[in-house]
Symmetry: D2
Subunit: 332 residues, 4 copies
């Protein structure tokens, strides 16, 4: 459905084939994905992102630091679609933050954004990876029972901090780092936007309260979250499981290549979800939930979830959004 | 202050010197503490706990499984003090669960227990290791501001599950286990008892609500807890820190050898407490707290804590209780 | 090529469907493979291995402890082929230890075994998992240049010790265990047998000397080995790489489903092989070698290798041997 | 014996008290030692190393990168003693590389160095941390039996690569990195120099051959080494243990505060040395050896050792050398 036409990076890599650009000066490979690099894509010559144009492409994926994104993304959005993992435009009123299967109706913001900014294209940033599993599991509960207070503690994977330098092994071995700068604010803010209602004047934030504590643990990939939720209407545990099961049924009908069968998968095994065993569920595109129990303190439920921070939580989630927007005619 | 007179174990070790009993059949040492074994204590011949009597001793430390404790501990409590880490008698109405510096007034239960059961001695079990840091940090908040709702997620160390077999390395590498059987119930129940008020008829449970999720992480020693607390009276962050600082000031005056200077130590470093760096604070006897923030969802505060599960949370906590009760005349 | 007809286990699992037998009493799954269980195989009812017969099957895979194998395997070998991962018969003179692509000519031992023991079937045990990568990489060097002295230090994965209890997490976190009972003797002995010459009277051990030290490290799957080899004839590094590349070319021609394209894969990246990144090369069926350097102390070469201990080193290696022997007419 | 008078660092820290210089811009502490910082030393104002003079001090410890050391160290050596952990001058003919208890007689090089260079002071760099345990254990064998060929594979701790950035946690979790640039060459070269004989014209390298492979494992502190040694004269295992036990007996007589009772400690527990349990033996100043076995391939012995790379292998080793040279009149 999507075809890679161009690749761009900093001037350091520009002019080299991707396969060559991925070798460092000591001859070591910097390709860190578990799948091998597609040899055809390895043959593409990397361009300098400062000079790359939108000629011949309809959509660009942007995965750069926020300050670079700030300048780079509008340059492309003038003409084509920009699907981004950067936070630079995430909090602007006319910019949607899509979570697949949860808020496709926010696409109405794209028209507002185009009008506001005089663009032919648009910017569509994805959510912070830690927000993904939380908002994905809250959405069906909010629709079915109404969500009030939410309290969440995360145990996040190393890959969220990047690889080089990322988290120093000396800091995390036999340890937990109890603070990830700016992360808690992002989750609290984005959840309300993603679950907000779209109207003619944009999004009105969801009417719930979210408080969280975000920590880093010695896990390679996949975020684990412990969630406590107040439900406005009393719900049996089976009703909650049913609500999760229904999420994204309409997504199935679209036949998007990257869409999972279940956006949220519930497991009855009391010792699951375990991040190493469950992060790759449906290619890392399904949020796995377990340990659902009644919570008498908030008046609602508590549960554990695992979601893959670099699959649905970043790169593959971006691709799924691109597939959706293409299908719906927003691209090209 | 305390002198080791006798050691007892199962019949498998009975009759051997401790130093010999600690070698397994392959010649490997089973002494797993970081301090070397005191050579004088290594010379003591281990007795069979089924036959050991209370002759010549005034106090026995019991660190056995709950079902063994059920039968063993009353046999000694008839005559002498039993300080236990087992849960067998923890939930009986006439049995105190001491948390040093927090509820010494529960010692009044010892008299009730003696009368009820016709014993000269008594049983004093310590709390579950996960309860220790939580109750220790809640106590000063409850006294100063009143605690309402409490939500806690723990990330617990391997040593809490024991060593052999304990947690299998294959299960925990690059992983989190989201369930520890019976742990959540223990914490929820014990916190209310420890923080309860003693009266002529025993303890009335604390008037608060506690909900928690307990997980196992790949950390050797020390439990980390993410805590959200509703405070009945509004409190500034500095007031909260001051309340923690004051806890246990009276304990200092007693000059007990195992007592820490600060039962609760607050750190302003935003990246602390880290379990590997902070678990050994004051020999593992101080609960280290950090990341204190206002919590607008519950109306109160949120924070992170680290407490050492096998020091204050088990063996050394038991010794401190023994020192206290000896000082106060309950032993001997 | 192979079809699963029957499954057997101890009496504890007998009578249950495999999918049910894999749930423990707490409801937790004991299926630990990364691939999901084939649902059709999950439907097979497990038999009691003490009663299972060879009716309707031509080949049995045996993966039990050595003492159980001692009695169980001959019962089947009377009539059908037994491919085993147990060590029980590994060192008997008339029993071949196949290493795919290395010593298929040892199949001549099967006839000797049948005659000696009056069996219609035979027992074919695989090598110890640590021997696999070593013997696989030594074989081409021995054929091309002659191998004299060999010195090897291994860093072995947790899965080699099994899961329950296996290695205790408390023992291996931030640690290395420098001893694996009986492992070094197995590697030293099996290498000489696998690389030995078959003659009319059986195998004559390879004329080389092997000394090794085997350690356990905190790695989930995949053994890493540091190897130093004396070569009887001087060889350039490119000649060595070429020799490795040629190994198993004839295996390709047979079209066996489980055979890798390269039994030995050489990498020029100076930071490889890395066990987490390379253990799954060709589905865990290829030994990945790197860091080839001249060794002036022994007079030869030194290198590092990674091989998957539970794929080529155990289960999938056994399947490949079964495929080969079936193709060659030894089965059925 | 030693008193800290001055501290110097880069201009970034200059002018701040040490305690302040150790806080980063986010308020996090960069003091990573397990012992708390001595408050008196925390009060010292850090100088700029580019401007610091040797006024008022007799000895300087240098722990900087090799290229900085190249310029900095001679500036001080003109007047005072420089004890360094940098490699800049390690391989110069008139510079000794002391290993405590092993080659004090190399102090004769100091006079040669002073004469050659016209210095009042001198430079004394310590060995690479991986060389320490190897040379320490080889020395008594060389003296008693003669050492020929040596083959060593190391499994080195994270702290050897520094902390920031150091080894990325994503690179080492569930992994081994099989290459540490320049490490093998250093060990092979330094071992021959340290064990070399001092004569009127300097050091003649030891007459042995060393080949090694150095790897990085997920261990916080402490290097583990698997060693195979050819002995020129046949030696029983008890003779080897006795030789190790004798090493450094003369060191005891000097009463140096940092000297361990045993430079080499042998353990009979077959599962030791384990790096987490043994690295801190005698405050990290003793090399712990175990698993001594005959090696029939080289004709000698094989064993495992653990030595602390940042204690005896770096900082505390440097202090012990300073104590020795002070005692012997080379300082001040």
């Amino acid at each position: 459905m999507l075809e890679v036409k161009k690749l761009a990076a900093s001037s350091r890599s520009a002019g080299k084939k991707l396969s060559a650009a991925l070798r460092d000066e000591k001859g070591a490979s910097r390709w860190m994905c578990s799948e091998p690099l597609d040899p055809q894509i390895g043959e593409i010559t990397v361009e300098d992102s400062a000079n790359m144009t939108s000629d011949g492409i309809k959509l660009v994926f942007s995965a750069v630091e926020a300050d670079v994104a700030k300048e780079l993304e509008p340059r492309f959005a003038k003409d084509i679609a920009v699907i981004s993992t950067a936070s630079a435009y995430r909090y602007e009123n006319d910019v949607p933050v899509f979570l697949p299967g949860v808020n496709w109706d926010h696409a109405a913001l794209i028209d507002i954004q185009r009008k506001n900014r005089g663009w032919k294209g648009f910017i569509s940033p994805g959510p912070n990876c830690t927000t993904v599993g939380l908002a994905m599991t809250l959405r069906p509960l909010d629709v079915a029972f109404g969500v009030g207070k939410v309290i969440m503690t995360s145990m996040q994977a190393l890959s969220g901090a990047g690889r080089s330098p990322g988290v120093s092994a000396m800091d995390i071995l036999d340890n937990i780092i109890p603070y990830i700068p700016k992360e808690e604010e992002k989750v609290e803010k984005e959840t309300l936007k993603i679950l907000g209602k779209i109207g003619p004047n944009g999004i009105s934030l969801a009417d719930m309260k979210v408080s969280c504590t975000c920590t880093r643990v010695n896990v390679l990939e996949g975020h684990t979250e412990s969630v406590f939720v107040e439900l406005k209407r009393k719900a049996g545990l089976d009703e909650v499981k049913a609500a999760w099961r229904e999420l994204g049924k309409d997504l199935q009908a679209l036949g998007l290549p990257s869409a999972p069968k279940q956006l949220v998968s519930y497991t009855d095994d009391p010792f699951r979800p375990q991040v190493r065993l469950d992060r790759d569920a449906e290619g890392g595109m399904s949020t796995v939930v377990g340990r659902l129990r009644e919570d008498t303190v908030l008046g609602g439920v508590k549960y554990m979830l695992v979601s893959h921070n670099t699959r649905m939580g970043a790169a593959k989630g971006a691709i799924l959004v691109a597939e959706y927007l293409t299908k719906k005619g927003y691209v090209g």
